[in-house]
Symmetry: D2
Subunit: 375 residues, 4 copies
Amino acid sequence: MINEINIALIGQRFMGRAHANAYRQVRAFFAPPLVPRLRLACGRDEAALAEFARRFGWEEHTTDWHDAVTRDDIDLVDICVSNDLHAEIVIQAAQAGKAVFCEKPLGRDLAEARRMLAAVEEAEVPHMICFNYRFFPAIRLAKKLIDDGAIGEVRQFHALYLQDWGLDPGIPFTWRFDKERAGSGALGDTAVHVTDLARFLVGEIEEVVGDLPTFVHERPLPDGAGMGRVTVDDAALFLARFQHGASGVFETTRVATGRKNFMHLEVDGSRGSVHWNAEEPNVLWFYSLDDPKELRGFRRILATEPEHDYAKNWWPPGHTLGYEHSFVHAVYELLTAIAEGRNPAPSFHDGVRAQAVLEAVARSVKTRAWVPVEE
Amino acid sequence: MINEINIALIGQRFMGRAHANAYRQVRAFFAPPLVPRLRLACGRDEAALAEFARRFGWEEHTTDWHDAVTRDDIDLVDICVSNDLHAEIVIQAAQAGKAVFCEKPLGRDLAEARRMLAAVEEAEVPHMICFNYRFFPAIRLAKKLIDDGAIGEVRQFHALYLQDWGLDPGIPFTWRFDKERAGSGALGDTAVHVTDLARFLVGEIEEVVGDLPTFVHERPLPDGAGMGRVTVDDAALFLARFQHGASGVFETTRVATGRKNFMHLEVDGSRGSVHWNAEEPNVLWFYSLDDPKELRGFRRILATEPEHDYAKNWWPPGHTLGYEHSFVHAVYELLTAIAEGRNPAPSFHDGVRAQAVLEAVARSVKTRAWVPVEE
Amino acid sequence: MINEINIALIGQRFMGRAHANAYRQVRAFFAPPLVPRLRLACGRDEAALAEFARRFGWEEHTTDWHDAVTRDDIDLVDICVSNDLHAEIVIQAAQAGKAVFCEKPLGRDLAEARRMLAAVEEAEVPHMICFNYRFFPAIRLAKKLIDDGAIGEVRQFHALYLQDWGLDPGIPFTWRFDKERAGSGALGDTAVHVTDLARFLVGEIEEVVGDLPTFVHERPLPDGAGMGRVTVDDAALFLARFQHGASGVFETTRVATGRKNFMHLEVDGSRGSVHWNAEEPNVLWFYSLDDPKELRGFRRILATEPEHDYAKNWWPPGHTLGYEHSFVHAVYELLTAIAEGRNPAPSFHDGVRAQAVLEAVARSVKTRAWVPVEE
Amino acid sequence: MINEINIALIGQRFMGRAHANAYRQVRAFFAPPLVPRLRLACGRDEAALAEFARRFGWEEHTTDWHDAVTRDDIDLVDICVSNDLHAEIVIQAAQAGKAVFCEKPLGRDLAEARRMLAAVEEAEVPHMICFNYRFFPAIRLAKKLIDDGAIGEVRQFHALYLQDWGLDPGIPFTWRFDKERAGSGALGDTAVHVTDLARFLVGEIEEVVGDLPTFVHERPLPDGAGMGRVTVDDAALFLARFQHGASGVFETTRVATGRKNFMHLEVDGSRGSVHWNAEEPNVLWFYSLDDPKELRGFRRILATEPEHDYAKNWWPPGHTLGYEHSFVHAVYELLTAIAEGRNPAPSFHDGVRAQAVLEAVARSVKTRAWVPVEE
C-alpha cells in the first residue's frame, strides 16, 4: 500500500507554481516512497487561486493561510510567499507539528532565520529550504567530482548570477524593493543561491567584504499614488575567504542588460576544475590534469546519461531538462528523507548558514571592511 | 463549464511517457479549451502498464489496444507504439470515429501512410502527427521570421541530426532494426523530423538523392538465441532541391560518437539566416543584413520571453525549458484545434508529405540517382 | 652557414600577401633549414606591386611573370594567381627546374591538374599545393588522434564550409564567376579545401553525388559595360562514400548569410570523434569512449600547448593564433622537405586527387547520379 | 621619401618577441608614417640574442642595454624586461631624449611609476605603455559602442582573467615570484591589464577592496640550491567603485586549472551591454534594448569586417587574427602618434593611473577595508 503525505502550499505565483508542478511530476517520474497529495492551496487572490487549484489539481483552496497550519489533515506546509511571512508561517507550522519546506531566503535577516531554525528544532519536525540549484544533475556531478578529489584542493571559486529584470525604472514598487518586507534585494534573492552552492561545493565561508549598490532609487507605486523608495540593493558583490583557504568572488545583479538567468559557477582546484551555467543547465564542464597533456581540455559533459543523478527517470540521453526539473528533484529528496525518518538536505541549518554569509556582507557594507561570518 | 476529451494512449515507453506527461502538463500550464481526461492506457506489459497508469494518473489500463478503438467513452486515440502497428490502429480508430494523434513516422512506407491519411479523411476525424520539434518556442520564432520575410528568399538549408545510441554492436536486436516492423532506421526515426522541419520552415522538397549506410549488420537477439540481421539504415544522408529553388543537405545518424540528440538546423536566406540546435533548445540564432554593417552578427535569442510562443505559460525569462515541453505545446495545439473544429497541424497530410521525401530517398538509393518526390 | 632559397612570388592579392607573410614569419619563428629570400614579386598592377614589394621586402618586382621562370636566380616559384594561369606557370617553372608551390585548386579541371602533375614529375622538381588548413595545430592533432586509432574506425564525416561574400548581386563580375577562368565556383574554391581535409583525415573518396546550384546568374561587369553571366556554382553540395566504408556529407557555399569563414568538420568513429571550426581555429573538440561513462563529453582542447605541433614556436599557451599562421606552417614544411631532399606534402598528387573528387561531383551533376571518382 | 625611426629593443623573451614581430609586421600590413628600423636588440644571453637578432632582422645586438640609451642613432627605446629594470631604463632613455615604449606594469609600485612619468614629462619625450589588449578590433568596437552611448550608462563591470601557469609547485622561482623584482604577482602582471581595460571602457576607479592570496609559498631555485620563498600573490581579486557610479568585480589568477589566457570582460549598461573573451578574440558580444523585444539577444559580432578597426589591413572577413596582432596595432598607433607629433595612447599617465588602482588594492589588503584610489 502506498503512503501519502498531505501537502498545503502557501503561495501561487512563480514559486508556488514551481512547487505545485514538482509535487505532480515527482509521482509520475520518480515513484517516491511518500506520494504527495495536493490537499490545500493557499493564496490571497481568490479568483486566481481557484484557477491555480483547478489547473494543478489541489483538492481545496483557501485565502487564509492559517488553515494550512491548523488543519489536522495537513502533513507538510510549503511556503512560497514574500519573505516577511516566512518566519510566522514556519514557526506556527512547526508548532503544529508539520514538516516545513520553505523558499529562500529563510528569513529577512539572520536573527529571523535563527528563530525559524530554533522553532523547527524544538518542534522536531522535518525542515528543508528550497535551494533548488543543488538538484540539477550537472551540479550533482560537480559535487561528486569535488568530493571524490577529482579537482584536488579548491583554490578559487567564482559565481556570476546575472539577471536584468530590475533594469526598467518603470517596474512597479513591489515587496521585493522594500527592505521591510524583503530583507534585502539581489542579496537575499539571488546571492543566496550562489552562496549556498559555494557552501555545497567548496565549504564554509569565513570572511567577506562586499558592496550592495542600488541604481534605481524610486519606482512607481502599483496603485498609481506616486513613487515608492527602493530600500534594497540592485546588485550584491562580494569577495570571500573559505575556511579551507580558497578565495571566492561573487557577483549577483538584477541590472546586467541581456542576462536573463545567467548563473555561472567555476571551481578551480589544484588538480582540475569545473564550471557550469544555468542557461545551459544540462552541461557540466570539467578539466583534469589527469588527462594526457596534449589532450587536456574542458569536457562538455551532457549530464543526461543514466549515470547522472535523476537523469534516467526522465528521457533518453541528450533530451534536455529545464529549470523546473530541479524542483522535482528537490521534492523527491524531501519526500524520501521524510519517509526514511531523516531530515532532508539542505535543511534550515543550511538556510541559516547562507544567511550568516549574507548578513556579513551587509555588515561589511556598513563597516566598509572585511568582516567574519558568524558561526 | 469545462469540456473534457477522453484520451486513450497506446504505448507506455519513451513516447508514451512523453505524451502522458503532455496531457497532464497542458492542463496545469495552458488551460486548453478541451481538458484532457486520462481515461485508458494500453500496453503489452501488464505490470509495467499498471505502474505507468498509477504514476501518470490513467483511470484504467488494458493490455488489449483494441479497447481504445472500440470503447464509446474514448474521444481521442494516441498512438505511441512500434511503426508496424500505426496503420492498423489509426485505421480502426478512424473508422470508429475517434480523433487520432500518431507518432512519427506515420507509416512504415509511403503507401501505408497514404492509406492512413485516406482513412482519417474518409472518416472525417481530426488527425495530427507528432512532429514535436515544430513546437519549441525558438523554432516557432524561426518560422515567424522566415514567413515575415526577415531572412529574404531561402537559398540553403542544412540539418544535422546526430545521435550515437546505435554505436554499440551489443545493443540488442529490437523492432527498430527490423525493416519489416520499423520500415527504415534513421530515415524514418530521425530524418523524418528534420524533413518535416525543412518543409515547415522552407517549403516542399522536389527532388532528392541519398545514401542509407548500415555499419552494424548483426545484433544479438534479446532472447539470447543468436544474432538478428539488421535490415535498416544506421544513417540517412541526402541532398535535396526545394520547389522554390533552395538547396538542402541532410545528415541524420545513430553512430555519431558523442552526439546524443544533436539536431542542428540552418536556414540561409538572401537577407538573413537562422540556426538552432536541440542541445540548446531555448536559443535561436538570427543574423540580419538589416543590422548596421559593423554590428552584424548572429544574435543569440533566448526564446523564453513573454513575446515568444508558449514561453509565458511557463517561467520567467531565462528559466529554460527542456525537451518534453515541445510535446505539451503540441498537445495544446491538438486540443485547441479540436475544440475549434479545425483539423490540427501538422496533420497526416504532413506525415504523408514527409514520408514521400523519405520514400524518394530510399528509391534514390536503389537507382543511385536523383529522384523526384512524389506529389 | 645558412642556406637560402630564392623565392619568386606571382600574385599580390589575398593569397600573395598570405604567402609573402609566411616567408617572412617562418624565418623569425621557425628557423627553417632553408631560409627564404624574397627575391622577386610578380603582379600586373605596377603601382600596387611596387608598394607590395616595399612593404613585404621583396628585393625586386616585375609585371612579367615569365621572369620568375626564366631567371636563373630563382629556386622556387610560388603561384597565387587566378586559376587559369596555374597550369601555364607551373609547367614552365617545372621545365625550368624550379620548385613549385601552387595555390588551390591545382587546375581548372582534372585534366589540367594532371598535366601539371606530369610536368613536375617529369622535371623532377619539388611540388606542393597550398592546402593550408592541414597546418593548423588543432587539425594536426586531429590527424594524429585518428592515425593513432583514438577514434576507432571512421564512419561518418561531414564538412560545412560556409561563407557569404557571394550574396550581394552587386558584386562585380570577376574571374571567379567565369568558368573559363576559374574552372568552377565554390567547388574549386572552398569545396577543394574540405575535400583535401577529408582525404587527409579519413582517406580516399570512392563515389560522389552532388549539386552545384547558382543563385545569382548575372553580375555587373567591372567596367560598367553591362552584366556578365555567372557560369560557376555558388554552392557545392555532395555526398560521398570513402573507400574504407565511411560516409561523407559536404556543403560549401558563398551565400550562407552571416557566415564568414565558417568551416566546420566532424569525424565520427567507432571509438570517438573530433570536430573543428575555422572560426575558432585553436580549438579541437575530442570525444572518447575511453573516458569513464559519467565523464564523457567533448573536450575543448586549446591547441596552443608546447605539445601541439608548431605551437611552441609562437606564444605561451592560450595566446591564440589566427588564420595566417597556417601558411607559415605550410611554408615551414615546404622548406624543410626541400632541404631534406623529400617532396613536400601535400603534393600535386594530393591536388590531383582532390580535383578528381570535384570532377566527379561535376560529372554527377550532369548525370544526376552517383559517379565513381577516377583513380 | 620615407621617414624611418630607429628602434632599440631591450628584452628578447615573450614580450621581446611580440614587440619585434610587431615592428616587422606593421610595415608589411599598415604602412605607418614612420617606418620602424630594427636597429639594436639588447639582451643578457649573448647566444640567444644573436639568434633572436638574426631571426627578426635586428641590425645589431648587444648585451649592454645602456647602449640603447646612449647611442645617438636610436630614436625609440622599447622595454621588455623584468619589472625591476623598467624605471632605470625609462629614466635614462628619457634623459637621453629617446621616445619610450614600456611593457606593463609601468613600475613595481606607484611611486616608481610616478618617477617614470615625471622623467618622460620633464624630458618631453613621447611615451607609451603597452596595454596591448586595447588594440583588438573587438575591444575597439566595444569602446566605440560605449562612447557612442549604445549601452547607455554603465552600471556593472566584471573582468575575469584566468590563467593556470602558476599551478605547478615545481615551476622554478624566477623574478616573477619575487616581490623585490616584480613588485607583485598576478596583480601587476594580469590585473593591470583588466584594470586598464576597465578605465578605457568605463572610466576612473574611485575605491577598491581586494584580496591577494598566495597558494604556493615556496618554489625551487633555478640553480637547484633549495627553495625560494614566493613573496607575491598568485591571484588578485577586488571590488571597485567607479567615479561615475558603476560597480566592478575583478578576478585575476594564475591557478585557475584549465584556463590558459581566459580574459573575460563584461560591461553592463542601462541600454545594452557588451562582453568579450581573449580566447575568442575576434568576437564581440553586444546586446541592445533598441532591438525589437522578441529579437533581443547577444549578437556575436565577428570583428573582421572592413568596418572594424585594423581588420581590413589583414585578411578578408572571417579570417581570424590572433594574440600577436594586438601588438602590431599598438605599434601602429605608437608610430603614427610620434609622426604626428602627438603623444601616443595609452601613455605613462595611463600606466600610473592603473598602478594607482593596484596600489590601492594592495593597501586594502593591509587595512582589510575599502580604500580610495590616489589621484
